[in-house]
């Protein structure tokens, strides 16, 4: 499979999130150490005020990571990252860039991710006699997703409640990811509290 477009960093990011590991040797070990939760949190709280996100914060964060790399004698990795951030992609730096994006999202959006996930779970989106796409719980969830997409600056299009598209970038070729928002029903009596 040939992937030539910039979705690759995110795809790699996806493969890294939650696994808590980075492969490779040498500079990657240092980078991993720097991007590990604890040091990332240290970086974020040391320099960037809590609750702030956006392009400027990412830039500050990236500069800190590169500074830390250079201080640790990993100038080569820092230079690679810098080149990649300037749009000069190569295979070696893509993975590292994906890692940095991953760490950034984890550190700076952690609380938002937790609260949005909790919110989504509150919608009781299991199949009933009404078609899912017409079920008020699904409709409310869809409205929430639309609001979230708009808040995050992402494209959003609803296809009659069957599928919602959420996207970044407007280029010609698309790389797709697919998820679903319906869940299986549960025996209500087995749960001690509602969602």
């Amino acid at each position: 499979m040939k992937i030539k477009f910039t979705a690759l960093p995110l795809l790699l990011l996806l493969t890294c999130i939650q696994s808590g590991r980075a492969g490779g040797a040498g500079g990657d070990t240092t980078l991993t150490r720097i991007l590990e939760d604890k040091s990332s949190e240290f970086i974020s709280t040391a320099v960037v005020p809590a609750g702030r996100t956006g392009p400027l914060v990412f830039k500050q964060y990236a500069e800190l990571v590169m500074m830390e790399l250079r201080r640790s004698g990993e100038k080569r990795v820092a230079d690679q990252l810098e080149r990649c951030l300037n749009g000069q992609y190569d295979v070696a730096c893509r993975n590292r860039l994906a890692w940095m994006l991953h760490a950034y999202a984890r550190v700076f959006y952690r609380d938002d991710i937790i609260s949005a996930t909790s919110r989504l779970i509150q919608f009781r989106t299991f199949a009933t006699d009404v078609r899912n796409r017409l079920n008020p719980e699904f409709v409310r969830q869809k409205t929430y997703l639309q609001g979230l997409a708009e808040k995050l600056g992402l494209g959003f299009r609803d296809i009659d409640g069957f599928v919602q598209e959420i996207w970044v970038g407007d280029g010609g070729e698309s790389f797709g990811l697919m998820v679903h928002t319906d869940v299986r029903p549960v025996e209500e009596k087995s749960w001690t509290s509602g969602p």
Partner: protein, 127 residues
């Protein structure tokens, strides 16, 4: 830790991807193409969602299904169904026990939290 329906399958993946997309925007990296997330509504039952979508929308050049056990879904472990048929009250195995009731969850694809079988023996009801 988040407990609830969809915490793993599949709402957490949806949120993680949306914030991953946001991180991509924050990074300021030039996006020459489009990364598109298709949010289905009917995976657990009829799969009416994506089939309808594909009738009037071209699929992305490549798509990764991020379903259960985020990040990337490779394959299900597979499952095996065993259906036992017996008429209520029958004693096919000659155990002296008659199965009169069985409560074991809502669906073969949902692991029940508990299961209860009720038998009768010589007219004495016991669980």
């Amino acid at each position: 830790m988040i407990w609830g329906r969809g915490a793993i399958d599949d709402k957490s993946a949806l949120v993680a991807i949306m914030y991953g997309m946001r991180a991509l925007l924050d990074s300021g990296l030039p996006l020459r193409n489009r990364l598109i997330l298709l949010v289905g509504s009917d995976e657990e039952s009829a799969n009416e969602d994506i089939t309808t979508y594909l009738k009037s929308n071209a699929p992305p050049a490549k798509t990764v299904v991020v379903d259960f056990a985020y990040p990337v879904f490779c394959a299900e472990k597979g499952w095996c169904g065993l259906w036992l048929k017996t008429s209520r009250g029958a004693d096919a195995l000659q155990t002296g026990l008659n199965l009169v009731d069985l409560q074991s969850g809502l669906s073969p694809s949902i692991v029940p939290g508990s299961a209860t079988a009720t038998f009768t023996r010589r007219g004495i009801r016991s669980a």
